[in-house]
């Protein structure tokens, strides 16, 4: 039993963090909010670093990594609030396309790895992020079929989100191709979608906590930094506790997916449950600690708070995870 990342995996995390601290600052995130444009620049940077091809098979120009190779990167995407279409592409779309195989995989995956193309997924009636720029969209269509839609072959209707960096679209009519898929491929895509939200939520919670701790150290009231008051300290300690509890659960889910454990879906539900909890609690504490300025749109906190709420609510939210676990327990 080994529950420890390799030095290489930790190094990749450090490189991604360093890149995002330079190239995807809160100011860049805010600029994406204002412009409503897709974040093409950061996608290019990430491709240059090699991380967009982490899950692309080696024979197609990628690194052939699995969910364990990716999870720390997803956490960093969350920490920086990179538009989550980027995470979904590497974590859900690319492995699904690779599993479906065929001409589409051979054609598109090398371009995804090199950053020349982007792909996306549509899950069970959910919205598709960045559908207008995707070269290929894979839409789940029941338990054993996938619709493959190429660029220009769909009517994507913009559905503005309160998180303006999430560029959501519903898919109206399309001229996609229905292909039969192994039910395992479809089930895996659903689990990976939930897992991808969990891993990003972990990073988002860490970011909101860091912002709040920094603020609590400098903001003074009653003649001292507010972080010296137990009322504030304890709120932040609670958030820290929720984050540290969620962390190993997320990493265990990455292992369960990567090694196709029979109870993989339960691990993923646990990861969602504990990251939903950490994300929600940390967002609440962060806003309270920031006070009025945290509720002002000019402050960056809400950019992260809204992403966390979006991800928390995705794929059925906390209730769906609890029902899945209860089913597993047969209670």
């Amino acid at each position: 039993m080994n529950f420890r990342f390799t030095d290489e995996q930790r190094l990749v995390r450090a490189e991604v963090r360093s890149l995002l601290e330079r190239e995807w600052t809160a100011a860049d995130l805010r600029a994406a909010w204002t412009s409503g444009e897709p974040a093409l620049e950061i996608r290019r940077h990430l491709a240059d670093l090699g991380v967009r091809g982490i899950t692309v098979p080696e024979r197609l120009g990628g690194l052939g990594g699995d969910d364990l190779a990716l999870v720390l990167v997803l956490e960093e995407y969350g920490r920086a609030a990179v538009p989550d279409a980027v995470a979904v592409e590497t974590s859900v779309a690319a492995p699904m396309l690779a599993a479906l195989g065929g001409e589409a995989a051979d054609r598109w995956l090398p371009r995804v790895a090199s950053g020349e193309a982007s792909i996306s997924v549509g899950l069970d009636g959910g919205y598709v992020a960045d559908a207008d720029i995707a070269d290929l969209i894979l839409v789940l269509d029941g338990e054993d079929r996938v619709v493959v839609i190429e660029k220009g072959a769909l009517d994507a209707v913009r559905q503005p989100s309160f998180d303006r960096a999430r560029r959501l679209f519903s898919i109206g009519g399309h001229r996609g191709v229905r292909v039969d898929a192994d039910p395992e491929v479809v089930a895996m895509a659903r689990d990976r979608a939930r897992f991808t939200s969990a891993a990003q939520l972990l990073g988002l919670a860490e970011r909101m906590l860091d912002m709040s701790v920094a603020y609590a150290k400098v903001r003074e009231q009653f003649g001292q930094p507010i972080g010296a008051f137990q009322a504030i300290k304890h709120r932040l300690a609670e958030a820290k506790t929720a984050i540290e509890l969620a962390r190993p659960v997320v990493y265990a889910a990455a292992w369960a997916i990567a090694s196709s454990q029979p109870d993989r879906s339960v691990y993923v539900s646990l990861a969602r449950l504990f990251t939903n909890r950490a994300g929600n609690l940390t967002a609440r504490q962060a806003l309270q600690v920031h006070g009025g300025i945290g509720f002002a749109a000019e402050h960056d906190l809400h950019l992260f708070l809204k992403r966390a709420k979006s991800l928390e609510l995705s794929s059925g939210g906390t209730g769906a995870q609890l029902r899945r676990i209860a089913d597993h327990l047969q209670v």
Binding site: R4, R10, L49, L63, A237, E244, P248, A252, L329
Partner: protein, 392 residues
């Protein structure tokens, strides 16, 4: 540019771990007493538990994580967790010498003199010396460093004067590890010294305190001119606080409340729920309570696998304590809600469920956010040491 990304994490057990697990399981299955022991808060129960410690030690399972030179198996942290899982699964008796094994033992290994190690570790590990922790005072609880008990040098001895309280296992323990002020000019964490004191010392008196769960679990201790040899100091005069903080870090680690204990409670809770029709609202709460036990299991595996140089949080022990103490209440509160009217029935009631154990254990779970450092103290430590927030 990224190259080698082979994954190191693998939560499945190695062949060696599986064999260790099987060996522990087989031994426990044939050695754990078939009929439950009397509670250790009675003289007879205490001696039964002491005897069990001997059996465990002689079987090679008393101190699995300790070095072989002290009678352990040099088990890895992961193996130690596996053993605790098996122990809980087999329904092993409460470890009556837990304070000695989990707190004092590691403290002596780190700070004890050679003589102290040679004298106490073998006896402690075999249950020949059962230890109690006598630290709190009536006016020094969370503010432990303000303690008033004094130790005054007199020749080769120190003379102890003062009062300690909430001493678990104190009624029948053979020894206590305590802290007293050796520098009367101080009133804080400076000037404290860590002592080892036999409970049969002249001038030492004990008064049992009945707990709200009906047990006489802890005692109040009075030192009235108790003479303790200077050789019984651990870590040197004035070093008491430093030694005590290390002792606490051992206490808050996984050994005090290993995950297997809660996994078993959750399994019992789910069996209880399956016996009747579960309110759909409680169904989700059951799922959540079970989920906490799984998360806690993973948290402990994570801590066991990641040393200081890994990805271990510096406040992992404090986080651990907050998680289990909260989870224990969650599990038991849910159980008594499931039982409803029957929850309050004691063992004496003909219609009692599981001998009234759920309510008893529920009450005991409420103490978990108080002992071993209150929730508030843990949150202070997480805020200050984990997050770098300023002290008051």
């Amino acid at each position: 540019m990224i190259r080698d990304l082979h994954h190191g994490i693998d939560l499945s057990l190695t062949q060696e771990e599986l064999e260790f697990q099987q060996e522990a399981r087989r031994w426990l299955e044939s050695n754990v007493p078939r009929t439950p022991l009397e509670h250790f808060d009675s003289k007879i129960g205490f001696e039964q538990h002491r005897q069990w410690e001997r059996t465990l030690f002689d079987g090679g399972w008393g101190v699995v994580g300790w070095p072989a030179q002290y009678g352990g198996r040099d088990a890895t942290p992961v193996q130690s967790l596996l053993f605790e899982d098996e122990y809980a699964r087999a329904g092993g008796p409460v470890r009556v010498n837990q304070n000695g094994l989990a707190m004092l033992g590691p403290t002596l290994m780190a700070f004890g003199s050679e003589d102290q190690k040679r004298r106490h570790l073998p006896r402690l590990s075999r249950g020949d010396e059962v230890w109690a922790q006598a630290w709190s005072e009536p006016n020094a609880g969370s503010d432990l460093a303000s303690m008033k008990a004094r130790a005054t040098r007199d020749g080769d001895d120190y003379v102890l004067q003062g009062q300690k309280i909430w001493v678990s296992r104190g009624a029948y323990a053979d020894w206590m590890f305590t802290i007293a002020r050796t520098d009367p000019a101080t009133n804080n964490h400076k000037g404290l010294t860590f002592f080892l004191v036999p409970t049969d010392s002249a001038g030492l008196a004990r008064r049992p305190i009945e707990q709200i769960d009906g047990r006489a679990g802890f005692v109040e201790v009075f030192f009235d001119g108790v003479r303790v040899p200077a050789a019984n100091i651990v870590g040197g005069e004035g070093e008491g606080w430093r030694v005590a903080m290390a002792t606490l870090s051992f206490e808050r680690s996984a050994f005090l409340r290993p995950p297997g204990r809660f996994t078993q409670v959750a399994a019992r809770l789910i069996r209880l729920a399956r016996q009747g029709t579960v309110d759909p609202a409680l169904r989700e709460e059951l799922a959540e309570a079970w989920a906490f036990t799984e998360a806690y299991r993973l948290l402990n595996l994570w801590s066991a696998s990641n040393g200081e140089e890994g990805d271990l949080s510096p406040v992992h022990a404090n986080v651990n304590k907050l998680v289990w103490s909260d989870m224990d209440i969650r599990l038991h509160e849910l159980a008594v809600r499931l039982l409803g009217d029957r929850a309050e029935l004691t063992a004496a009631a003909p219609e009692a469920v599981e001998g009234g154990r759920w309510m008893h254990d529920y009450l005991f779970s409420l103490a978990g956010t108080i002992y071993a450092g209150t929730t508030e103290i843990q949150r202070n430590l997480i805020g200050e040491r984990g997050l770098g927030l300023p002290r008051r």
